[in-house]
Symmetry: C2
Subunit: 243 residues, 2 copies
DNA sequence: GCATATTTGTCCGTATGTATT
DNA sequence: TAATACATACGGACAAATATG
């Protein structure tokens, strides 16, 4: 199978090749052997010089995806894409049963600020009403999966940052604050290149892709309680919508 | 607002900047004036030379996003990210009401082939049963939005390729073949870099992002009739899930 | 019409990164 | 490892088109 590599496109050949190989690995293309083809074979496949393939493999090795062993070949170290169900009952920490051994939510930052027009509309508040903003990172088996910015009405949830920091879960934090149950109203999904702080929070390399969800959760009375924008490392997750 | 541009990352600065500006345009950041800031301002914002900004703008002009006029500035020509609802009633040609003037489905290729294990499982058939495979492209206002590979059981839908080629719509093609109504059972969503034929079909440049959906449609009796893998140009669409 | 500031377009040269042989 | 070719990025200077008062 001959891959398409474009020159003079503003993307270095080695990066295009690295992206292609990462895709193939996550796709399970090399699952039978657990190894990459030889550098010579890859160079032939992509139609480039072996040096260029080596640059691509070095980049993948850098992010822990593969490991090259002299005299043996290039071993695949990691291949995993978690499946997140999206439904009325969507929670970060549930629905992943068995897919990850350890789940953790970490509070990066919290502030109280007046609601912007967008946040106000989503939470059904007047613009300028105080909101708690949480910056959080979701971690599965020690690997950062998502970075999220969440807004809660400050009148009802002024303490949620502290509780979340202690419990590591929005669901548990809301439970302590009297919300036994809540539902996902809507989810908007898009994709973009990772930028700025997300590169660092999610330990991504430039050019990496984010799956971005914008969602609203409401209590059982239908009152909005949380507006979030979550950025998922696209090569680690997929979403599943049952309709 | 200072954007993060990474050097020595394997992605040319002008491309990172072009991607950032495309994102901002689609995000509506410049809607008040309908123009980009001056090249000098952009160069300052991104912390690069004006020539580099010009390369990025040239690339955006190339894809019809902006148009530069000497002495005036750089005008925004197009700003569009279609919102696709995902629900039990998901169809390409519906739910886009008003978002695009002209919608079209084009048949690229069709074959009849035995069902692979994955296709067979999705369509609830035995492996090896004949299936019609359609390669299609969805076009809105003359711009390719999605490329899709669809499988239908050949016994019931052997003619669907021809009907689709004539009608330009899966829904209408199924209607002619006796399926008045059908529902979306499940949708899986992921994202990856565009590769190979998708670059050409969707007229994308390397490094572009795809939103990939894998879905199953069934008739009203619950029998699966269509299994599809659709690749959407991520900078032209978003998905919306109501739950 | 005129002068001036602003903005894009084009040219020069130089240094560095990328890819091949 | 070295030599080569090309793409990328920067800096500066000036021309051409447009907007403003």
């Amino acid at each position: 199978m001959r891959k398409t590599i474009e020159r003079r496109s503003g993307v270095a050949l080695w990066r295009q090749i690295a992206d292609g190989m990462r895709l193939a690995i996550n796709n399970g293309d090399y699952d039978d052997t657990g190894m990459m083809p030889s550098e010579a074979t890859l160079a032939e496949t992509f139609g480039v010089n072996r040096h260029t393939v080596r640059s691509a493999l070095a980049s993948l090795a850098d992010e822990g995806m593969v490991r090259s062993v002299q005299g043996v070949g290039t071993l695949i170290e990691r291949r995993d894409r978690l499946t997140f169900p999206i439904s009325r009952r969507t929670r970060f920490s549930q629905g992943l049963g068995g897919q990850a051994k350890e789940l953790e939510g970490r509070l990066v930052h919290q502030t109280i600020e007046p609601a912007s027009p967008i946040v106000a509309k989503a939470l059904n508040l007047a613009t300028g009403i105080g909101c708690v903003r949480l910056e959080t990172v979701g971690i599965a088996d020690g690997k950062p999966i998502s970075a999220a910015t969440s807004y809660f009405p400050a009148d009802r949830f002024s303490m949620i940052g502290d509780v979340y920091a202690r419990t590591g879960s929005i669901t548990r934090a809301l439970a302590e604050l009297g919300i036994d149950d809540y539902v996902r109203c809507s989810t908007e999904i898009s994709a973009s290149h990772a930028e700025g702080i997300d590169l660092r929070l999610l330990k991504l390399s430039p050019g990496a892709i984010l799956l971005v969800t914008t969602s609203v959760n409401a209590d059982t009375d239908g009152r909005p309680i949380q507006y979030s924008r979550s950025r998922f490392a696209a090569d680690r997750v997929r979403f599943f919508v049952e309709t």
